[in-house]
């Protein structure tokens, strides 16, 4: 059984994302909520891996890869970017300072990369 990292962060991120996009519930139903939770568990796992390996680029590569997949499923880069912003916002002091700082650096770099790729796509 895979251990879920920081489950309260995952729950808060899912709640906030659905508050921000209430139509997601109508569009994808309960299954969508479950998938969203799984996605956020994955984001946390990749943030932790990037921290353990001390390399934010691993998270940036993950963001690019995931963004490609989500777009094939009708999501936009904006959804992922907002999700990452929300994780930054809901992380609390249960995550120790050094780790949290690294998570934030990974998220910031991924956000920068996603926004650059969005501009590139729209051109």
């Amino acid at each position: 059984m895979k251990k879920v990292l920081y489950p309260h962060v995952v729950e808060r991120a899912v709640d906030e994302l659905y508050d921000r996009y209430p139509n997601l519930k109508e569009q994808y139903g309960e299954k969508g909520v479950r998938k969203c939770r799984e996605d956020n568990e994955h984001h946390l796992r990749y943030l932790e891996s990037a921290y353990e390996l001390d390399n934010t680029q691993f998270f940036v590569d993950y963001a690019h890869w995931l963004n490609g997949i989500l777009q094939k499923h009708g999501m936009t880069a904006e959804h992922l970017s907002v999700n990452f912003e929300i994780i930054k916002h809901v992380m609390d002091n249960d995550i120790d300072a050094g780790r949290k700082e690294h998570y934030e650096a990974s998220l910031d770099e991924a956000l920068k990369a996603l926004s650059a790729s969005e501009i590139y796509t729209s051109e």
């Binding site: 990749y46 353990e52 390996l53």
Partner: protein
């Protein structure tokens, strides 16, 4: 090759073992293991891309994996293990890191080692380090191959390499899998670890070893470019 991959992919996704085997049987170079393994590998990689593009489901992918596994076992029996080979007297064990489920690559590499006359034990997916260590201490392989495909399993690699390198007969550590083709994994390995990016590199390594031989019971650290990463 591209057309072959498309056709073989279709058979795998249909779970059509018979057509897969017929197709391999019709290949002009069916006894060239590298070509056949390349076809299997490229087809499974293509299925991964189809999943990423939302063109096939997880269920399709699992059926394809099970079919590929069966076809590989059949091929291995017909063209490798049932044929008399010159034995090297060397042993190799292959495993995936804990929680890593992508085992087909290790099965292909293990089969290649058998083709080159090694005695092989294949432990497949998800082998926790403590069991790998016990097995290695008891069986004393000259080489231990570890595969890692998913990034969040990578932090464990260093532990595996350090622990398994330390067992008394000092086996050569070999690292491969999807991540070895994407990133430089040297910093997560020991300086003596052989890191190989794909099956062609493994074959070149095995050929070099066959030509050079192993002196004083110790493996030669190969000196050509593929080992410099």
């Amino acid at each position: 090759m591209e057309a072959d991959v498309q056709r073989f992919t279709r058979y795998l996704l249909n779970g059509d073992e018979l057509s897969c085997e017929d197709m391999i049987g019709e290949l002009p170079e069916k006894e060239n293991v590298l070509n056949v393994f390349d076809l299997l590998t490229k087809s499974m990689q293509h299925i991964g891309e189809l999943w990423e593009n939302n063109e096939v489901s997880v269920a399709d992918e699992h059926l394809a994996t099970a079919t590929c596994d069966y076809v590989l076992s059949q091929y291995r029996y017909r063209f490798i293990t049932s044929k008399k080979r010159k034995e090297t007297g060397k042993k190799a064990m292959f495993l995936c890191l804990e929680e890593e489920q992508h085992y087909l690559g290790t099965k292909i590499i293990a089969s290649l080692f058998e083709y080159f006359g090694w005695e092989v034990r294949l432990f497949g997916a998800n082998l926790p380090l403590e069991y790998a260590e016990t097995q290695a201490k008891e069986w004393k392989p000259e080489l231990i191959g570890v595969s890692v495909a998913i990034l969040y399993h990578l932090p464990k690699l260093k532990d595996y390499v350090e622990t398994l390198s330390r067992i008394p007969n000092s086996p050569t550590m070999m690292v491969g899998g999807r991540l070895s083709g994407l990133y430089d994994l040297r910093q997560y390995c020991s300086k003596d670890t052989v890191i190989l990016k794909d099956i062609a590199e493994v074959k070149t390594w095995l050929e070099a070893l066959s030509n050079e031989g192993i002196s004083d019971g110790k493996r030669n650290q190969p000196s050509n470019s593929i080992f410099s990463n």
